[in-house]
Amino acid sequence: MQEVLKKNPTEKRILAPRESRKTIGNITVPKPRMVCRNVNVHYGDKQAIRNVSIDIGRNEVLAMIGPSGCGKSTFLRCLNRMNDTIDSCHVTGEILFDGRNIYDASVDVVPLRAQIGMVFQKPNPFPKSIYENIAWAPRIHGIVESKSDADEIVETSLQKAGLWEEVKERLDQPGTSLSGGQQQRLCIARAIAVSPEVILMDEPCSALDPIATAKIEDLIEELRTQYTIAIVTHSMQQASRVSQRTAFFHLGDLIEVGTTETIFTKPSHQLTEDYITGRYG
């Protein structure tokens, strides 16, 4: 980061002051996959997300960065209504997917989550066999009818997740018997198995070692061609490696959005620059 900045030193840019909480940068994209407008999230009385609006583009990787507690995970969980499982959480605003606000009363959240999948921070494979981990969700959604369908989906998903070669001989072993990195790839395969449009990833590599992390980052790059990915990450380096657009959150506000290169070389907001140069974190 420092080197990048040194190459392009902070020229005569007028940075938006720290106190300003308005979003800087272009929040829209042509032909977006998901559209979020004026999203507010409250946990009881505490407000966690303040009036965030952003588009998520087709087949892009959007990275959401920011210091701890800034709300990026909370915002990510709004995108597939995972926050519904928390009693005190209250979401207002619009999140459009395929033209419909997913928070509309007429929306069934169960099939929604088949279209917007999620990979969690700590790998959480089901305590079932590797095969069952993948096959379970397609089965309950009715995507597979027969065993051969299920076999096919299992193989395809594992291949797409880059895990097939490693586990094809032991599909009946429990998912929990794999290493950390393999478990996370299993979770990615599980999410892919229901053919989602969007995959949400909440700090997927924070519990993994560098080699496993590298494998997953390569995987994300491959998956981009087929899916839209929104990834929350603690690591700026990771964001700069895998994403095309980056959104910077700070204490519940979306401070700046832009292409990854811009954000990391020529940020427009003082807070963004302070964060990426490591003045706080």
Binding site: K31, R33, S106
Partner: protein, 387 residues
């Protein structure tokens, strides 16, 4: 506002609920959760149900005979015409054995819990815990049989010597400890030195001899006691204490464990010995939980039926003198169990209803104990969580 039209590939409305689907989902949820709610409520309502039915059958007694006789008279002759229903001696009997068993079980239980949670190495703990749990698994009728057929004759034939041995085993260490402590206090002062040490040893010796004389004197007095009947309050209290012990031990132990490592480590880091850490830091922190454990143990003792029915002698009178545990007594539970066979023939009479009145008394007492101990536990949990 940006254009919000999207085009996806397939099934654009797959996740949208039709009103039909929505209604079906709501109905399924209503019935599914409703059924579970009904079942859970049923369990809750059973308690009120029990209370209601016992009270409904207990009130007629008080309507027929009033409150005074029941609570103040010791004349218990339910079979007479008209009967006398003075339950004071029976209530006293229940209280006597409960307190007796608490006196034995509480110190024993708390020290066992401390031992299990803080003192014993893990390997020994593996064996000690199942022993305590086994005491809980033995059915009450087995305890009753033991009390009646084995322990009662033992008390009757060897009562004196047993008491004497118990005296030595329990009071001995305490008295000797007291001697050492007193000797220390008397001779305490600044500095060491062999001079002071000699003084301390002499004082200890003198006090020790006095203490031994005292122990012998009491021991011999106990030895001479003749226990007329082995089925008495002492027998029951002893057996009940071992029945209440597992409850006290396990709840106290949970409480001690809940105190957590940080508090203990803080104390050790200051150079406290293990005993000091336990007595001065851990016990006060766990005190409310231990109190709750004691209350639960008392609940267990007062609600026990078989042992008291078989081994208390079932004599409805207040012992003379009032602290004479070697006398037979009668408890509320034993009266209900014993007299119901006859009383059920005359349903509707005072004889029938008085047993429900006793049941109501037991129920109310147990509920109060339960609520109090619940309160204490909840309060302690809050305090510990807040720390």
């Amino acid at each position: 506002m940006p254009n919000a039209t999207l085009d996806s590939g397939k099934k654009p409305d797959a996740f949208v609920l039709t009103p039909e689907k929505l209604r079906r989902q709501r109905i399924a949820k209503f019935f599914g959760e409703g059924f579970l709610l009904v079942v859970a409520s049923f369990v809750a309502i059973v308690v009120l149900f029990i209370f209601y039915f016992v009270a409904v059958d207990a009130i007629p007694f008080f309507q027929q005979r009033g409150f005074t006789e029941f609570f103040t008279s010791t004349s218990w002759y339910p079979a007479d015409e008209p009967g006398e229903f003075g339950a004071l001696a029976i209530i006293y009997g229940s209280g006597m054995v409960t307190i007796g068993s608490a006196l034995i079980a509480v110190p024993l239980g708390i020290s066992a819990a401390i031992c299990l949670s803080d003192v014993l190495p893990f390997s020994v703990r593996q064996y000690a815990k199942p022993v305590i749990e086994m005491l809980a698994a033995i059915p009450s009728v087995a305890y009753g049989f033991f009390a009646l057929v084995i322990f009662a004759p033992l008390l009757q034939n060897y009562g004196g010597p047993i008491l004497m041995w118990a005296w030595w085993l329990i009071a001995g260490p305490f008295v000797l400890l007291a001697v050492i402590v007193v000797a220390d206090l008397i001779t305490s002062g600044d500095g060491g030195g062999s001079e002071r040490k000699t003084i301390r040893w002499t004082v200890t010796g003198v006090l020790g001899i006095l203490a031994l004389v005292f122990l012998f004197w009491v021991g011999n007095a106990l030895n001479a006691i003749q226990i007329l009947s082995g089925t008495n309050a002492l027998n029951v209290s002893l057996i009940l204490s071992f029945m209440a012990l597992p409850t006290i031990v396990s709840v106290s132990e949970d409480s001690l464990q809940a105190v957590g490592r940080e508090l203990r480590e803080g104390s050790y880091a200051l150079g406290a010995t293990r005993a000091e850490t336990i007595v001065k830091t851990v016990l006060p922190a766990a005190s409310s939980g231990i109190l709750a454990a004691v209350i639960l143990g008392i609940m267990r003792a007062i609600g026990e039926t078989m042992v008291v029915w078989m081994a208390s002698g079932n004599s409805s009178h207040i012992p003379d003198p009032w602290y004479n545990y070697l006398d037979s007594i009668r408890t509320l539970t034993a009266t209900i169990a014993g007299d119901m066979g006859e009383a059920d023939q005359v349903t509707g009479s005072a004889r029938y209803h008085v047993l429900f009145a006793m049941g109501l008394l037991l129920l109310v007492f147990s509920f109060i104990c339960n609520l109090v101990s619940e309160r204490i536990v909840v309060r302690q949990r809050k305090i510990l969580a807040g720390e």
